[in-house]
Symmetry: C2
Amino acid sequence: MSETLPSIADIEQARRRISAHARLTPVLRDEALDEEIGARVHFKCENLQRVGAFKFRGACNAVFALDDADAARGVVTHSSGNHGAALALAAALRGIPAHIVVPENANALKLRNIVEAGGIVHTCVPTLAAREAACSAIGRERGARLVHPYSDALVMAGQGTAALELLDQVNGLDAFIAPVGGGGLMSGCATALRARSPHTVLVGAEPSGADDAQRSLAAGHVVPIERPDSICDGLLATIGEINRRVLHTHQVEVLTVDDAAVRSAMRRLWERLKLIVEPSSAITYAVLRAHRERFRGQRVGLLLSGGNVDLDASGLAAS
Amino acid sequence: MSETLPSIADIEQARRRISAHARLTPVLRDEALDEEIGARVHFKCENLQRVGAFKFRGACNAVFALDDADAARGVVTHSSGNHGAALALAAALRGIPAHIVVPENANALKLRNIVEAGGIVHTCVPTLAAREAACSAIGRERGARLVHPYSDALVMAGQGTAALELLDQVNGLDAFIAPVGGGGLMSGCATALRARSPHTVLVGAEPSGADDAQRSLAAGHVVPIERPDSICDGLLATIGEINRRVLHTHQVEVLTVDDAAVRSAMRRLWERLKLIVEPSSAITYAVLRAHRERFRGQRVGLLLSGGNVDLDASGLAAS
């Protein structure tokens, strides 16, 4: 885990590094949603990224930044979610092993995504201590490099490429909203936008049942939530200390909404955009809708971070 | 209803005419789907087109081709589906009235789409005769131009722009698959591809419970199905005689699959592409999957025609 903050140069380099592997995702607009909000809303569709999430950008940058000797020993992370699948795919593209530490109770769909992408799964008991211990052991025994899901400068820089791309695809942004879990995505995007579009207002979207980022920014240090509770399963992690610092430095404001608002936003995006977005993505639209008077008449970029919904759990009839 | 066949020049002109209004829709690929099929599959995402369907291209071309005097009298069509909403939006963009004749039993969601797009709804009893009579009456009384959903050269030319665009977005196509209902989309696309990529194999996808196009091509004349039955609600119309002639001229082969194959394909596309596609779109992937040995190693373009699924009827939990 690196303690260096990412710079705009790191993000530019990441963009070149991952360009052969990551998708240039489309930006969508919808007239009815514009009207609902009273603003011009640009949806950056990272749910259409490889493995269905922006996580691929960060993992790919971390994997391809390694020199050949380090790369040969592989990479390791703990993640039951999109970051695990993203790292597995990035490693497979480079032809190196990816060890993914997963809790025994992990969701079967997410496990399948990791295995399909070629990851080597190691299961452990479902505590943070056990996950970190398993990662350390694999790092020690095999020399595999730890790629942390968000508190890693290469991961942040890779994820920030989504914002650079978005800037090229639109005609200016007055505001930008991205979800905040551990804070890696917003760290990269805030760094990119402050450098290239300094007047863009930066807003993090967080569930009210897991509002550690909002509290941590107010307190000036990381304030973990004891029992985070939200349908936004990608946003339950506690913000990293380095990520808190990046968000503070770049004046990111965090706004929260409850799960009912997220569900309603998700439904609306499915209906209008024809896109499958997960709750952790739809929260950006929920925040915009809840605070629409602040953004009236503005050009707003929303980062739709991922689309990995368990269609069985969603009750979708087609099966 | 015009009896002229569309030419490649008509399609090029349509492309220029609608370029300020229609979206340039993205083309997506997915490694897991490529592997499942054993081919390179390019998904042309017309579900991301305005009003959620390729229908906007045809309607827009028909509306903007009118001279000012004709346009001022408005347009009329009968459609309970995407064409009605598409024509209403195109007319609204030109600032002219659109009269949409809709059967009393039309789906509430589709009705809402027509009204939201600014269409003037006229209800009638749910028979083809009543719908045609209502259209004729409106045409007579108000001088509104009939824009037939598929047997109209301007509509076909507009819809064919999707295939022209796709050709610009990929590096050659060995085969192209589009759904066939009334046959307007395939008429336009076949015309475009025969002119610009003569060796591309053209395949129409049709539900086995509504296989009138396959039968009509075999018989050499239109063979209606008495009680078409399929979840592909956009593909139940009988192929138009002019459309049958275009498909015959351009050697389009029609392949069929049953509803179970369509359901399974729709589920797979939602899961992998993160796109909401309707059954009438997913049928293209179902046909490709059922005949994968024929397309092995090829570059295949699939037209995903629309994404207007009733999320309530689909049983989606989020509400």
